[in-house]
Symmetry: C2
Amino acid sequence: MADKPLIFVTNDDGYFAKGINELVGVLSKFAKVIVMAPDQSRSGYSCAFTAKEPLQIKKLSEQNDVTVYSTTGTPTDCAKLAFFKLFSKEKPDLVISGINHGSNASVNAIYSGTVGAAIEGCVNQVPSIAFSLCEMDKDADFSYSLPWVEKIVRYVLANSLPLGVFLNVNFPSGELKGCKACRQADAYWCQEFDVIKDEDGNEAYALTGTFVNREPGVEGTDLWALDNGYASIVPILSNRTDMTYLNVLNDKLV
Amino acid sequence: MADKPLIFVTNDDGYFAKGINELVGVLSKFAKVIVMAPDQSRSGYSCAFTAKEPLQIKKLSEQNDVTVYSTTGTPTDCAKLAFFKLFSKEKPDLVISGINHGSNASVNAIYSGTVGAAIEGCVNQVPSIAFSLCEMDKDADFSYSLPWVEKIVRYVLANSLPLGVFLNVNFPSGELKGCKACRQADAYWCQEFDVIKDEDGNEAYALTGTFVNREPGVEGTDLWALDNGYASIVPILSNRTDMTYLNVLNDKLV
């Protein structure tokens, strides 16, 4: 690591979102920061990449220790482009994605472009963190989260993370009591569409939905932590093999 | 389960792809099959959903025990729409995604829309399987895989799967020696873009890349099985918390 750590930052809300700019504000106090983020909102893009058309990169600004690029791609594309174009010789010390506007706790981590970019960092063997605030508003108040962002980032810079593990951190809206290391709660979305009529009178289906926690009140889950005023830190594996059931299959099926 | 099991089928290559039609051909011998698949190729869409515009559904055919719909959405959208519209009262007995044209072994599972749809089935607590053939060609030969598809599907119908676990099955191109239950190999993609000039002379970045297996020759991995002429079956967890590192974090960070 050079004098100052080198941190790559991206998100799924776009380079212009408040959350990513608040994040960069914290990190630039002690790190060299390179941002490459989507030029439009790319929420819900998971680990999707763009195969159909070439991507474009635009350099937006460079001042002091912060350089900002936008791309026409997804969060995963942003991370892939950054590793290809900016970090082909020297990897960053960290990949940080966020701060997302809206929860990426529990099952939301599956769909999240913010988390998707952190997975891409992890696959590239760089310690990676996804940060999200459980507040969708574009003017959401990140002030309570920022000291914890700094604490968690400094911890990971000092201690690294095991290969193949990244952190998915969610902050409750408003003041927080502290921070809990958690497992992902079991939850799902139901009643997911509003049925509407399109211009031709045909039915169309607009995504909405109700979030259902299958483990309400269960301490140790990320949703419990958030419901009780704590930030949740979930260490997530990029390799998701179930080793227990693998042995069952070997006995019974193969 | 009714007399015949009810199987929901989707994919990411589109309803018209050879792989999904070969799959339906096998399943319809012993099951009632409902297909809801994208109306265009949606490879590389991971668990992405469509939040920006309403989705449309088109009923394409209904004969004997096979009904086929297309949607304007991603594979995850297809599964979500099917649970909302077709299976709101009675869940299917299985969700099957594929057979994909191209490998979804190892790290490819992260990006795959085929796998994304199986994750959605798993989150909805229906036993789910993603099938892929390591052969991109649109006229790929699925004939060697089909007896194994039937065997695996019948196994899962008879034995179910643990909640929160789905199967990611990949077939080698050509003849196969058998089938191995495996863990996901550690791999990544590098040198991921061709730099080209767009119409205005600006640089643009077209996805390509070299696949790197970090564990070449390691028996027990899915890439080893495929390289040695076996189909790989990887049981994958939808909840990816690393319980070991969780305890480290609780001791050191929180």
